[in-house]
Assembly symmetry: C2
Homo-oligomer: 462 residues x 2
């Protein structure tokens, strides 16, 4: 390990050997954090379908073992770019004139450009071990698809990505990255699946959506020999894989000689927030520290701050099993903010359980103030944050400014989950004054909450 004025770096051998399973430290009925089939039958003609998870991966993520060993081949892959740096933002502190100490963990310095690679590699490993030869997924702007394509290439698996058509056409760079890694990228809705064909018949010019892309990917995976469908957030196992972020950050904060008063992450379905925050939950339990954990969501998709804790489907069409989560309802369609990774209608069951017990906070910000924070961070720290990560930046800046106003020290830690180099067109719109805020009306939310499934779940998992 080595430290400098700005950076706290660990060595290759310091890559954690275990992921952290928060279920060991969370008093919650196991049924609340598993998937469940609805007791009621699906509507006539609708199919029930669920990702077919490798058992070893699934079991570790719903068990009570506190530590789950990272398989050696996965840890070796992690060592290609991990441990990631923890950076003290001295310049940000100076610019803000704050007594706060600001630290950020930077997860964007790998080829996929985001934290998503942590779970993509783990999943590719488990699926390969289970005999899978091709992994399929849906992707929006492409962070998850990019990570999965790289993981599949590294581990010798085929990869098919259904990419939302409007992103496929307008944001080609991540598509090119996926193709460079040998993935087949299909604009969705496509003519290659029943779901896609049905949708195209109804609206030939459809822009597509992540929900549709995932429906196509799920169907495709079932038709492929030794195929499987994988998702990049929300599920317990994904959150588990991401805890490698927080485990490293714990050691790095130790090197820095401080412990955070507040830990901040952007909130899509929750894997990036959980990855950083969960290990700090364990540590504050151990030491009694009063560390706050804060998830940051866009005002355009306020599942935590304005949603309901309820059983709901994970997809728009309601064909997947249900999970108990903070949700705006599976029929909620968020306005088209640039932080596409934060537009999911629900929060991961594990994050939801933490929130329901008052063990964390959530805050929502509008798009323009988020980009203002992101641009300020880019200029000051010389790192353009992804629009998703800029949400965490905004919250960290607010915490630092509050510390200044209260004239109190405060140690702030947040996660820059990815870089924004492939999202510069959004920053361009910000600089040109063309960005919009997207207020979501109470009636809009009430309508989608009214469509929550009116059924009791049974069983714990397919």
């Amino acid at each position: 390990m080595r430290t400098s004025r700005n950076q706290f770096l660990l060595d290759e051998e310091d890559v954690p050997t275990h992921w952290y399973n928060i279920l060991a430290d969370l008093d919650v009925p196991s049924s609340d954090v598993r998937r469940a089939r609805p007791a009621a039958q699906p509507a006539a003609g609708a199919k029930r379908s669920a990702p077919n998870l490798p058992l070893s991966m699934y079991r570790a993520s719903v068990g009570a073992e506190r530590y789950v060993k990272i398989p050696d081949p996965v840890r070796e892959q992690y060592q290609r770019w991990r441990p990631t740096p923890l950076i003290r933002a001295h310049r940000l502190e100076q610019e803000l004139g704050t007594p706060a100490h600001i630290y950020y963990k930077y997860e964007g310095a790998n080829a996929a450009g985001s934290h998503k690679l942590n779970s993509a590699l783990a999943q590719a490993h488990y699926y390969r071990q289970a005999g899978v030869q091709e992994i399929t997924t849906g992707t929006g702007a492409g962070q998850w698809g990019t990570a999965l394509s790289m993981a599949c290439h590294a581990l010798g698996l085929a990869c098919t990505v259904f990419m939302v058509r409007v992103s496929h056409a307008q944001k080609p760079y991540r598509r090119v990255l996926m193709e460079l890694n040998g993935a087949r990228v299909i604009p969705s809705p496509s003519g290659t699946t029943e779901a896609g064909r049905a949708l195209l018949a109804a609206s030939p010019d459809s822009d597509g959506s992540v929900a549709i892309a995932n429906a196509e990917a799920l169907e495709h995976a079932q038709t492929v020999h030794r195929g499987a469908f994988a998702v990049g957030s929300g599920e317990n196992h994904v959150l588990l894989h991401q805890t490698v972020i927080g485990e490293e950050a714990l050691r790095q904060m130790e090197l820095a000689g401080e412990f955070p008063d507040v830990v901040i992450g952007a909130m899509g379905a929750g894997s990036n927030f959980a990855g950083l925050a969960f290990p700090f939950h364990r540590e504050r339990l151990r030491t009694g520290a009063a560390t706050r954990l804060v998830a940051v969501e866009p005002s355009a998709c306020p599942k935590m701050t304005r949603g309901r804790y309820a059983w709901d489907y994970n997809d728009y069409s309601g064909t997947t099993p249900m999970t108990k989560m903070y949700t705006l309802g599976h029929t909620f369609v968020a306005p088209g903010v640039h932080a596409g990774g934060l537009r999911y209608h629900g929060a991961a069951p594990l994050v939801s359980a933490l929130y329901a017990r008052g063990l964390m906070e959530a805050v929502a910000y509008d798009q323009k103030e988020v980009f203002e924070a992101g641009a300020f961070f880019a200029r000051t720290e010389n790192l353009v944050p992804a629009p998703e990560s800029a949400h965490a930046v905004k919250c960290a800046l607010d915490e630092a400014i509050r510390a200044r106003e209260e004239n109190r020290p405060r140690v702030i830690l947040f996660n820059v989950s990815g870089h924004g180099l492939l999202d510069l067109s959004a920053y361009d719109q910000y600089l040109a004054g063309e960005l919009q805020d997207h207020a979501v009306s109470d009636s809009h939310i009430a309508a989608s909450l009214a469509a929550l499934p009116d059924v009791d779940p049974v069983g714990s998992r397919s």
Copy 2:
């Protein structure tokens, strides 16, 4: 410092304290490596103009002192991202099945995305010290402009960049990066300068060129209070600043316990090649090692392999002083390859002097084989090289394959001067089979060589 299986990393305090001036180790008349005014008068109406270099920066770059101290404020800036990693490309070796050991220095992991930041920060420092308040430059695809905008922001200077119009319109991402750093970016030809207005009057739809952008920048700098014009390659001082790359690489190769048999860099005007290679020239002189230094140029702009060693202008219009260099003639216009940074008609005087004395080699590659190498490297090493850097990759692969064919060990070191994340559209064209090679005919080169100035230079510098 720390080493791992793949990476040889130095600590912040290991950032070199001095740049290396190759003039101390090169038997060359000083007049050959300085700028000179032509003895003949310019054509009626033409203006003579030259960058107005800060004296301290200029003197260090034409003197005989072997080591030039890096000013403390510059070294502090370097420490924000330097030392950069030296990486052993184990996977590449495995994929190629070569006995060669392949190392690359990676200069793309800073906010500007390339080595250009090394000189941009140094120049911004010297200009500020000289009382300059605004730096102006011309840029093509934007690597240099991006670096300069960041350097100016970091040191509190204003920055104006004239950006080739077609790039401004079609490759907006680097423009956005510049604007995020507070630079004013003007599409060139523009209506803001005489040169631009004259050109627009003749061809209102002109796409522009780097030569025109630089002419506008030079004119603009002369109208600005405390303004200056800066260039990103070619000049002695720029090459000097870049030697920080090779000085680090020397120490890192020592950590790896090897010395390169061949050192490779892509060749535009020469700053990235020289930055890595020059310190190895000094070291091979000291130890008697038979290390080869190889510059790689595009077949579309073969100034080294097919040009002439002669006095020539640095700009298309012939208004700047002359330098003695390998050149295709200042009126040579290279075909539009994606490696925009390698389309300059001449080679830096210092690199030219080395080449003329048989102390280095040069090789030229076609565009398609270069992108094939870049894509292979991206898949294998999980790092997309800039199209410019992909030229060095191609040469390194060829060296490694030759080692395999000869069944001999060989230690190969090359420079990945920048990442290609903002050049993915070019890789897209490669994957789609749409890339062209651009053969340059003998008569094309003969014509531009015939336009070489027929004058003897006088003096050593304005």
